[in-house]
Amino acid sequence: MKMSLKTLFSAACLGLCAGALAPEAALAHGEKALEPFVRMRTIQWYDVAWSKAKLNVNEEVVITGKFHVNADWPRGVAQPDATYLNVSAPGPVFIRTERYLNGQSSVSSSALKLGGDYEFKIVMKARIPGRFHLHPFVNLHDAGSVVGPGQWMEVEGDASAFTNQIKTLDGSLIDMETYGLANGVAWHGFWIALGSAWLLWWVRRPLFIPRYKMLHAGQDASLISPLDRKIGAAIIFAVPMIVLGANFVTDLRYPNAIPLQAAMDQIDPLPPAVDVGAVQVKIQRAEYNVPARAMIMTALLHNGSDHPVRVGEFSTANVRFLNPSVIQPPQGEGAALAAREGLSIDAADPIAPGETRTIRITAEDSLWQRERLDGLIRDADTRMGGLLFLYDNAGRRYVSSVSAPVIPKFY
């Protein structure tokens, strides 16, 4: 028994060491971590695209896309008064050189309007070679990060070849990779040298036991010599002089220095792109069938357009449920989050112009579970949300933002 316990313990230790020495790369960015109702009913991403997937150091990739800010914003999530369109990556393996929101250049945070539609463009310049997963995402103050679709990027080349030069308003051209480093290291080195000298001044002599004994024997006066006192006085005088002198010189050298900037950008929404046009959708009931992993929505559709329309896609939290008879499945990485035949309608015939019809839309796929969206039924807010895409014969697209309370069906 003793032997087996020892063997077990040794095996556990070996396993632990082997695990520590051969770590697996973490490939996720927590995109499934946020509660489902937040992912489904806050920022609704669509049409996200990358200009390329392979590039060299110093080359740029452009991420474009759109998002709709759901008007049925969860009550438990802070209003989007301070948000930041960001990119998740394993550190600054890319740098962000440009960012546009609704065509407006933006470098700071901004507020988003409920029900607003936004188009974005982010330009990223490759800095470190490797294979990295990039997502656009929106940081919501007091709520978390709502992550958009991701894409693997292959970066080749030499990291030392990366350049990032910026012209300051006083006309200097600076290299962001090295700017101020030598100066900072020199100042740290200077103060560390002075501090080390002070420490060595004391450490060179016998320390704890003799000094303790002498102090308690009433000989403490001899523990601090006159020279120690002179050096102490010199420190009190010279150190502030050096500090204030260097501060004065810095002020002279950088007369145009300004405080850190804390302004927010003001971005207006685009003319509405979602819930406009002639097609209106209202979800009357939504049920989530747990064993079938299917969301069944009963929707009242009114087609006010001049063309018959058909439901082509339901998209929520980056998962796309597609009606194969209407749209082609995506290729490449986007296919992983697309249920190619995941969307079915109880009546296949198009909704005629002027017609109002109640239809049953079923979004069924294991992606509900894999993307941890099935947990919605156990959330504190069990309303679902998403975008419904309808198409007419000419390929025109009508987008509706839908939401409704969800009733689970356990059998």
Partner: protein, 250 residues
């Protein structure tokens, strides 16, 4: 400088006893080094945190208020042990040096090598001049009250001018994306940090607006006042949680 004035104080031990006593010194010093590198660095990372991590957090209001206030803690506690018991006026310098060792190791290996941030974006602040003055005031005054008032104030007031020669150049303005930013702000925009969006920065917030653009001296004096209170608090914490009973038994 005479030979006499350089004399090391009289030693109660000679021979083997002196050798063993010296070995004990080194043992304690090495242990203290690792203890303070770990503990003080953790304390600063948890309290000062982003203000010390990133260029674009080092503002003129909160950074000079928070940093000295949180960094005077360990120096006060360690001085409370080393000065009354051993007459060693090096507690503050030792703590801040250990902090800088830990900080530079982290900034280089964790932030630069592991997470790819350029080191100039994560340059740490230094408080060594403040620590030297704090130690010197304690040595010359031999008084907790005087050190609390004058040492605590000097510790805080020296912080911003000490670091301005390092960080001032990062406040040069640039035009970027149609806005005026500092070079420090630009680091925050370009070198992406997924978990720390720009709006989370606690910078330039508060009610100092009625004092024009002189927020820094006001923050520094506020910090100085608080440091005069923080210093004795941590002095007594150091005194309460440290013991010299093992030295007494030798």
């Amino acid at each position: 400088m005479t030979g006499k004035s350089l004399d090391i104080p009289a030693r109660p031990y000679t021979g083997e006893k002196a050798r063993l006593s010296r070995a004990y010194d080194y043992l304690i010093l090495v242990l203290a080094l690792f203890l303070f590198i770990g503990a003080f660095h953790l304390h600063v990372a948890l309290t000062v945190g982003d203000w010390d991590f990133w260029q674009d957090w080092k503002d003129r209001q909160w950074w000079p208020l928070i940093t000295p206030l949180m960094m005077i803690t360990f120096p006060a506690a360690v001085q409370a042990v080393l000065w009354p018991n051993f007459r060693l006026p090096l507690g503050a310098t030792l703590c801040i040096s250990c902090l800088l060792i830990g900080t530079w190791i982290t900034r280089f290996f964790a932030y630069h090598m592991w997470n790819f941030f350029p080191i100039n974006e994560v340059l740490p602040a230094t408080m060594l001049p403040s620590a030297l003055v704090l130690d010197a005031i304690l040595m010359l005054s031999n008084s907790l009250t005087v050190t609390s008032i004058f040492g605590g104030m000097a510790f805080a007031l020296l912080f911003y001018p000490t670091n301005w020669p390092i960080f001032g150049m990062f406040h040069v303005p640039v035009e970027y994306g149609g806005a005026q930013l500092t070079v420090a702000d630009l680091f925050g925009f370009q070198y992406i940090r997924a978990g720390t969006p720009e709006y989370l920065r606690i910078i330039e917030r508060g009610t100092l607006r009625t004092y024009g653009q002189y927020a820094t001296p006001l923050s520094a004096f506020c910090s100085a006042l608080l440091c005069t209170l923080m210093y004795p608090l941590w002095w007594y914490l150091g005194k309460a949680f440290a013991t010299t009973k093992y030295v007494e038994n030798i």
